[in-house]
């Protein structure tokens, strides 16, 4: 069986049935773009949740007589504590100045630094909830030299419940979009193959094997998916570029998106054409 002739036949149908191929390509590109766009939203949603989750921490304020090194060592020993960062009162003031920026003259009302030294305590991921925060905070409060602790508590759990609902909703929508995209791409491929049923009939009549008949269509499906996927990637990249004018820190792992759209397009193309061919090759 000659792959060369199969591919040549595929190229011929692409060049000679240009409008049909272009239409099918356009459908694939738009569908894949829709999928890539929604994936971009999903990726950024996850990124935001991850950042939010990492920000769940306990701030422990020290009294002036506290022995920083001993306290740090003791807090690090508590189960669930990942990292303890010491923030001196001077550092805290600098950070505050940076945050206030233009309005830092407010601070001039204080004669001396009003901010106490503190520990920023980062937790292991399974302790980043109301129960974990309460438990660890309670243990820290028992240590000598700790004045007060600050953490989200119940608010953290509420936030987690909300994000869980958003994630579920997002997954549902993503599943619907994936199914719609597959359906639209498959139907379009089916139509383009049906338009060439005479060609398939003749191939069968003159004794072409099933695999020989399938090669040009599979090749066409691959090329269409590849180009369609690339166009979808370009459109997503443009959308990303535009979105950076409106939002800060939009996350766009471009290599993954390039790989995903092209590979996804090719896989949909191959599976779509083989499904449509099955009717003819019974």
């Amino acid at each position: 069986m000659s792959l060369r002739i199969g591919i040549r036949e595929g190229m011929r149908t692409i060049t000679r049935n240009g409008s049909l191929f272009f239409l099918s390509l356009l459908v694939a590109a738009i569908s894949l773009f829709l999928l890539a766009l929604f994936s971009l939203v999903t990726v950024n949603l996850y990124q935001a949740i991850k950042i939010l989750d990492e920000k769940i921490e306990i701030i422990a304020f020290l009294d002036q007589r506290a022995d920083v090194d001993v306290l740090k060592e003791n807090i690090e020993k508590i189960k669930g504590v990942e990292q303890v960062i010491y923030v001196s009162s001077e550092q805290a003031l600098t950070e505050l100045r940076n945050e206030l920026q233009d309005t830092e003259e407010i601070l001039t009302v204080f004669e001396e630094n009003p901010l106490p030294a503190s520990f920023r305590i980062e937790l292991e991921s399974n302790f980043r909830n109301a129960q974990g925060l309460n438990e660890i905070s309670g243990k820290i409060m028992l240590l000598q030299g700790i004045d007060e602790t600050l953490y989200g508590g119940e608010l953290v759990d509420q936030l987690k419940r909300v994000t869980r609902v958003i994630v579920l909703f997002d997954f549902g929508l993503l599943a619907i979009i994936i199914f719609s995209v597959i359906f639209v791409i498959f139907q379009t491929i089916k139509l383009t193959i049906f338009a060439r049923s005479t060609e398939i009939e003749i191939m069968k009549l003159v004794g072409a094997s099933d695999s020989f008949i399938a090669i040009p269509f599979t090749f066409e499906g691959i090329v269409q998916g590849m180009i369609g996927g690339f166009i979808a990637f370009l459109l997503t990249a443009i959308t990303y570029r535009v979105s950076t004018f409106f939002f800060d820190n939009v996350y766009f792992p471009h290599w993954w998106f390039l790989l995903g759209t092209i590979l996804g397009g090719m896989i949909f193309g191959v599976i779509g054409s083989s499904f449509a061919m099955r009717r003819f090759l019974k």
Partner: protein, 219 residues
């Protein structure tokens, strides 16, 4: 070469296409399958090249019981049979030469042999001067000659022609039938389905007449 033994074809419960058909066609024979439109001629031809399966009975073609020909063996089996249709079934986006070569290329024939065979068949059918023409640039008779060339280029043992003159004028019909006669003279078994009794009478060949799904005459 071809034998039908009590062959019936039933599409649905009340739709019988052929019933109890029995005949033999020997190597090198020329036979007409006659009957009105819808009599079952096309179904009969389709069963010979295994595009349709009989509901009952046994069909043997080229010493093979068609029941034993497995699905994946069908392409190999079909390469021994040429088929020509009333509507030519040519690929409109290919030249005359490409349409004929297509038949060889899909069966993986080396390029050199394709060129040689093309030259032979196009010369034989006097089509060489139009080899770069597209089907829509050819007359009906010429298009049917291309279809014959496509069927013949693989040197089939059997040539099946389903109403090959149905869409042609008298002059072209005559030319096509004389080509089929010549092909038969060179040794290929030819079976031609037609509803034209006058053509059959003129040719003085064997005639199998189908009426109401049954074989009513064989002479």
């Amino acid at each position: 070469m071809i034998s039908f033994d009590k062959v019936s074809k039933v599409y649905q419960k009340d739709w019988v296409a052929l019933q109890d058909i029995t005949f033999n066609i020997d190597k090198g024979e020329f036979a007409f399958i006659c009957g009105a439109t819808g009599a079952g001629k096309t179904t009969l031809l389709k069963m010979i090249y295994k595009d349709e399966e009989p509901t009952h009975g046994t069909i043997k073609v080229l010493n093979q019981n068609l029941k034993d020909v497995k699905k994946k063996e069908i392409p190999i089996f079909r390469r021994k049979i040429g088929v020509v249709f009333q509507d030519f079934k040519l690929l409109q986006d290919r030249t005359l030469e490409e349409n004929v070569a297509f038949s060889l290329e899909v069966t993986d024939t080396p390029a050199r042999e394709v060129r040689k065979k093309l030259m032979e068949i196009l010369t034989y059918l006097r089509l060489s001067h139009k080899k770069y023409a597209y089907p829509y640039q050819l007359s009906g008779g010429e298009q049917q000659k291309v279809a014959i060339a496509r069927a013949l280029v693989r040197d089939p043992y059997i040539l099946l022609a389903d109403e090959p003159t149905g869409n042609l004028d008298a002059k072209s019909s005559e030319e096509i039938t004389s080509i089929l006669e010549d092909i038969n003279y060179k040794g290929t078994t030819v079976i031609m389905a037609t509803h034209s009794i006058s053509l059959v009478r003129k040719m003085k060949k064997r005639m199998l007449r189908i009426e109401d799904c049954r074989l009513v005459k064989d002479k």
